[in-house]
C-alpha cells in the first residue's frame, strides 16, 4: 500500500490521498475532512474563538451577578463625586484639599507616576552610562567596583531597596521640621522633604513676554545647530555649536528676564506650627522612590551600555586610530554612535520597566497611581473593576507608546545592507 500526498500542480491546493488498489493502479481519493489542513485551520480557530467568547461571557455574567449581590453599581457616575481624602503631593495639577473629585485623583496619580518616572529615567540613564563605561575601565579596581554594583543591585529585590532607603537610610538621617537644614532661608531639608522657592508670576503679560523670549532662544538654538551641521557637511569647517548653544540658552533668558521687567518673584517656604508651607515641596517619599528606581535601573542600563560598547568590533577602533583620531575622538565619533544602535532598544525597555516599577511606591505611600488610585480610591469606592481597568489601561498606553517608539527607532537605525 502506498500512502502519501500529491504535491504537484493543482493538487497542492486540493490534496488527495493516494492509495494503491489491488491491481497496483494508483487512484486518487478525497482525503477525509479531518485531515484537510484548510478545514483544520478553520476548525481550530473557530474553537479558539468560541472558547475565548465563552470565557469572556462567563466572566462577564459572573461579574455582573456578583456586583449586584454586593450592591456595587457598575457605572461611571462615581468618578464625578468628591473623594473623601486628600493628596499631599501634586506638582502641576491643582489639588485643593477636600475638593478633589475622583477623576482628578486619577489624573494626579498618573501625573505623579510620570513625574517620578521622568526624573528616574534621566538619572538612571546618566548613572547607567557611568556604570557601563566603568565596567570596561582598564583599571581593574574600577571595573570590579562597577560589576559589584551591578550584581548587588540586580540580585536584591527592588521592594527591599525601597524599604532600605526609606526606613533605614533617609528617614532616620533627615532632621525634624524644627531642626530643618536650611540654605540662606530659601531651601529647606527635613523629614517631609526638600523645599524650594516657587517662582510666582506677578503680571501675566510680562510673564508671557518672558516665556516668548525663552521659546525664541530654544528655536534659535535649533536653527543654529542645523546651520552648523550643514556648514560642516559642505565646507568641513567646524563651528563650536555646543558652547554657543549653551551661551544662548543661559544668556538670552537672563537678559529677557530683565527686559520683560522681572515678571517673577520667588515664594519661599515658611515655617508654620507643624510643617513648612508654601514653595515647592519635593516629598521624602518622592525622593526615595526616585533614588531607589534610579540606582536599581542604572545597574540594568549599565549592562546594556557595556554590551553595546563591546558589540562594536575592535576593527573600528583600529581603523579610527589609523585615520589619526585620538582616543577621545574615537570614543565620541566612532564607538558611541555605533554602540547606540545596540544600547538604545533594550534601554527603552528598561525605561518602561522603571515606569512599571514605580508602582512599588505604594509600599512607602508616594502618591502615584497605584497608591492613591488602585489603593485608596479602590478602598473608598469599591469600584474594583473600573479602577483596575483604568490603571492597567494607563500602563497599556505607556507600553504601546514605548513599543511604537522602539519600532520607529529600529526602522530608522537599521543597517541598510546589500
Amino acid at each position: 500500500m502506498i500512502r502519501g500526498f500529491v504535491f504537484c500542480g493543482e493538487s497542492l491546493y486540493s490534496p488527495k490521498m493516494l492509495e494503491g488498489d489491488k491491481t497496483g493502479q494508483v487512484v486518487g481519493r478525497d482525503i477525509p475532512l479531518h485531515r484537510d489542513p484548510k478545514i483544520r485551520a478553520i476548525a481550530f480557530q473557530a474553537a479558539a474563538v468560541l472558547f475565548f467568547v465563552w470565557a469572556l461571557w462567563t466572566i462577564g455574567s459572573n461579574t455582573v451577578a456578583n456586583m449586584e449581590e454586593r450592591g456595587i453599581v457598575l457605572g461611571l457616575s462615581w468618578l464625578d463625586k468628591l473623594a473623601p481624602f486628600q493628596v499631599g503631593f501634586s506638582p502641576f495639577l491643582d489639588n485643593v484639599l477636600g475638593e478633589n473629585i475622583y477623576w482628578r485623583i486619577f489624573f494626579i496619580g498618573v501625573q505623579n507616576t510620570i513625574y517620578v518616572s521622568f526624573f528616574g529615567i534621566i538619572a538612571a540613564t546618566l548613572l547607567g552610562f557611568v556604570i557601563g563605561v566603568m565596567r570596561l575601565s582598564p583599571n581593574w579596581l574600577v571595573a570590579k567596583i562597577a560589576s559589584v554594583y551591578v550584581e548587588i543591585f540586580r540580585n536584591i529585590p527592588l521592594l527591599l531597596w525601597f524599604f532600605f532607603w526609606y526606613f533605614i537610610v533617609f528617614l532616620p538621617a533627615l532632621p525634624g521640621v524644627r531642626e530643618s537644614i536650611s540654605f540662606v532661608d530659601a531651601v529647606f531639608i527635613n523629614k517631609s522633604g526638600l523645599y524650594l522657592p516657587l517662582p510666582v508670576a506677578e503680571s501675566s503679560s510680562a510673564a508671557a513676554v518672558f516665556l516668548l523670549i525663552c521659546l525664541a532662544a530654544v528655536v534659535g538654538v535649533a536653527y543654529l545647530v542645523r546651520w552648523a551641521r550643514k556648514r560642516q557637511d559642505w565646507t568641513g569647517k567646524q563651528f563650536p555649536a555646543l558652547s554657543a548653544s549653551l551661551a544662548i540658552l543661559i544668556l538670552v533668558p537672563v537678559a529677557g528676564f530683565y527686559v520683560s521687567g522681572s515678571p517673577y518673584s520667588l515664594e519661599y517656604a515658611k515655617l508654620g506650627t507643624f510643617q513648612l508651607s508654601g514653595g515647592i515641596n519635593l516629598t521624602t517619599e518622592f525622593f526615595v522612590v526616585w533614588f531607589a528606581l534610579t540606582t536599581y535601573t542604572a545597574a540594568f542600563i549599565g549592562e546594556n551600555v557595556r554590551g553595546g560598547i563591546l558589540a562594536v568590533s575592535h576593527g573600528q577602533t583600529e581603523a579610527a586610530r589609523s585615520l589619526g583620531l585620538h582616543h577621545g575622538q574615537n570614543i565620541r565619533l566612532v564607538i558611541i554612535p555605533q554602540a547606540m544602535r545596540v544600547i538604545i532598544p533594550p534601554t527603552i525597555s528598561q525605561y518602561l520597566n522603571l515606569t512599571k516599577n514605580s508602582t512599588l511606591a505604594i509600599a512607602i505611600a508616594y502618591e502615584e497611581i497605584a497608591s492613591i488610585w488602585m489603593g485608596i480610591s479602590l478602598n473608598t469606592t469599591g469600584q474594583a473593576l473600573i479602577i483596575i481597568a483604568m490603571t492597567v489601561g494607563v500602563f497599556w498606553t505607556l507600553s504601546f507608546l514605548t513599543s511604537a517608539l522602539l519600532n520607529w527607532y529600529n526602522k530608522r537605525v537599521q543597517l541598510t545592507e546589500r
Binding site: 456578583n66 579596581l141 550584581e151 524599604f163 473593576l385
Partner: protein, 384 residues
C-alpha cells in the same frame, strides 16, 4: 663553519610579568589610574572595615532575647547605668526568629511541627542535587518527577491534612517557604501555558496568533502589582459567588499568569533560534504539525531557552516580595514583622540585611548557573 644556534629568547622584564606586571597594567597604568586606585583603595578601607566590624566582629551571635544585643553604658551626666544597643549587628534576632522568618507564623507558634518544612526543603535539595551531577543517568525521569509529583508531596507535608498531621492553613504560611512556593509554583504552572502561547504566537493561523499575542502583551504590559490587585479584588468577582480562593492561591494565580507571558517570550526566543531547515526536514520526512513540533522543534527550542527561563525565574523570585503588598507574609514581610514585634523593635536593619543576603545568594547563584548553561548549551545552532 659552525652551526647556527639561535640565542634563546630573553625573559620578559620582571616588571611586566607575574604579580608586579599585573598590578602595573591593571592598577597603575597611568598617573590618572594610579591616583584613582589609591583613592578607591582608601575609600574601600573606610567602608569595608567598619562594615566587617559591624557584621562579624562586634556582632552578637548568642543569647535568647534582645538583652544579648545590648551593652552597659554609664551616662556621664547622671552617672546611672543604661542598657543601650551594642555597636555590632544583632544576629541573635535572626537566630531567635529564624523559624518565623523562614517558615512563617504557624511553624513559629508550633515548634514541634518545624520538621515538616525542613523535611520538604531537604527533599527538594535531594531531588535537585542529582540534576547537577553530570554522571547521573536518570535526569530526565527525575526532572519530571520533581515537576509533577514533588509539589503534591510538598503540599501534603507542609499543609498536613492529607497525612493526618495538624493542619497549617495556607493563610498562616509565610517566610522564605512562601516565597519559595510562590516562585517555584509560579514557574512550574507557567511553563505549559508559556509553551502553548509561544507556539501560538508563531502559528500560521491568524486568529490563534493574535489571541496569543493579546494574551502575552496583556500581562507583560501591566506591572505585577496591578495583576496582584486584580487577583485579590477581581478574581472573586469573576467566579460564581460560591467559589472562593484563599489569598495564597489568588497570588499564585496572578503570578502564574504574569510569569506565563514572560516564559512564553523566553521560549519564543528559543523557537526563533532553531534554523528553519529543522522543521522543513521534519515535514519532508512526513511529520505533521504535532510530531514536528513535539519531537523536532520543541526539544531543541526548550534546550536553548532554558537560560532565558532561568533569567525570568530570577526576576520572578525577586518580584514575589510584592505579595507583601496584598497582605501575604512572604520572606521580606515576615522579617519586617519580626523586626517590628515589641521585643525586637529597632532591629529592622538586621532584618533587611539578612533578607538581602539570602536573596543575593540565591539570585547570584542562579544567574551564574544560567550563564554557565548558556555556554554549555550553545551548540552553534543560534544564527548570528
Amino acid at each position: 663553519m659552525s652551526k647556527f644556534t639561535p640565542i634563546p629568547a630573553r625573559e620578559p622584564p620582571a616588571s611586566s610579568v607575574g604579580v608586579v606586571g599585573w598590578v602595573r597594567t591593571h592598577l597603575f597604568s597611568s598617573w590618572f589610574n594610579s591616583v584613582l586606585t589609591v583613592l578607591i583603595l582608601w575609600s574601600l578601607l573606610q567602608i569595608v572595615l567598619p562594615a566587617l566590624q559591624w557584621l562579624f566582629l562586634d556582632a552578637s551571635w548568642g543569647g535568647a532575647n534582645s538583652d544579648a544585643c545590648k551593652t552597659d553604658f554609664i551616662s556621664p551626666e547622671d552617672g546611672e547605668h543604661y542598657r543601650v544597643d551594642a555597636p555590632g549587628a544583632c544576629w541573635t534576632f535572626t537566630k531567635v526568629r529564624f523559624v518565623q522568618i523562614m517558615f512563617g507564623l504557624y511553624f513559629a507558634a508550633h515548634p514541634s511541627e518545624v520538621w515538616r518544612p525542613v523535611l520538604m526543603f531537604a527533599l527538594f535539595g535531594g531531588l535537585m542535587a542529582p540534576l547537577f551531577m553530570p554522571a547521573f543517568r536518570w535526569k530526565w525521569q527525575l526532572g519530571v518527577f520533581t515537576l509533577l509529583v514533588f509539589p503534591f508531596i510538598a503540599f501534603a507535608l507542609v499543609h498536613g491534612e492529607w497525612l493526618g498531621l495538624p493542619v497549617a492553613e495556607t493563610n498562616e504560611w509565610g517566610g522564605f517557604m512562601l516565597t519559595f512556593f510562590l516562585a517555584v509554583g509560579g514557574i512550574v504552572l507557567a511553563l505549559p501555558i508559556g509553551i502553548v502561547m509561544a507556539l501560538g504566537r508563531r502559528s500560521d493561523l491568524p486568529i490563534i496568533r493574535s489571541l496569543c499575542v493579546f494574551y502575552i502583551e496583556l500581562w507583560r504590559a501591566a506591572p505585577l502589582i496591578t495583576i496582584l490587585f486584580m487577583a485579590s479584588n477581581l478574581l472573586p468577582l469573576f467566579f460564581p459567588s460560591g467559589v472562593d480562593f484563599d489569598k495564597v492561591v489568588r497570588a499564585l494565580i496572578a503570578i502564574t499568569m504574569f510569569q506565563s507571558a514572560y516564559t512564553a517570550e523566553a521560549i519564543r526566543g528559543g523557537l526563533q533560534a532553531i534554523p528553519k531547515g529543522q522543521g522543513e526536514a521534519a515535514s519532508a520526512l512526513g511529520m505533521g504539525y504535532w510530531k514536528n513540533t513535539g519531537f523536532i522543534i520543541l526539544p531543541q527550542a526548550m534546550k536553548i531557552s532554558i537560560p532565558g527561563i532561568v533569567n525570568t525565574f530570577i526576576e520572578l523570585f525577586k518580584d514575589t516580595t510584592l505579595v507583601g503588598i496584598i497582605g501575604l507574609h512572604d520572606f521580606l514581610g515576615s522579617a519586617q514583622i519580626a523586626a517590628r514585634s515589641p521585643d525586637w523593635k529597632g532591629y529592622d536593619f538586621e532584618a533587611y540585611v539578612y533578607v538581602a543576603l539570602i536573596f543575593f545568594m540565591c539570585c547570584f547563584a542562579m544567574s551564574k548557573y544560567s550563564q554557565h548553561l548558556e555556554r554549555k548549551l550553545d551548540t552553534g545552532h543560534k544564527e548570528r
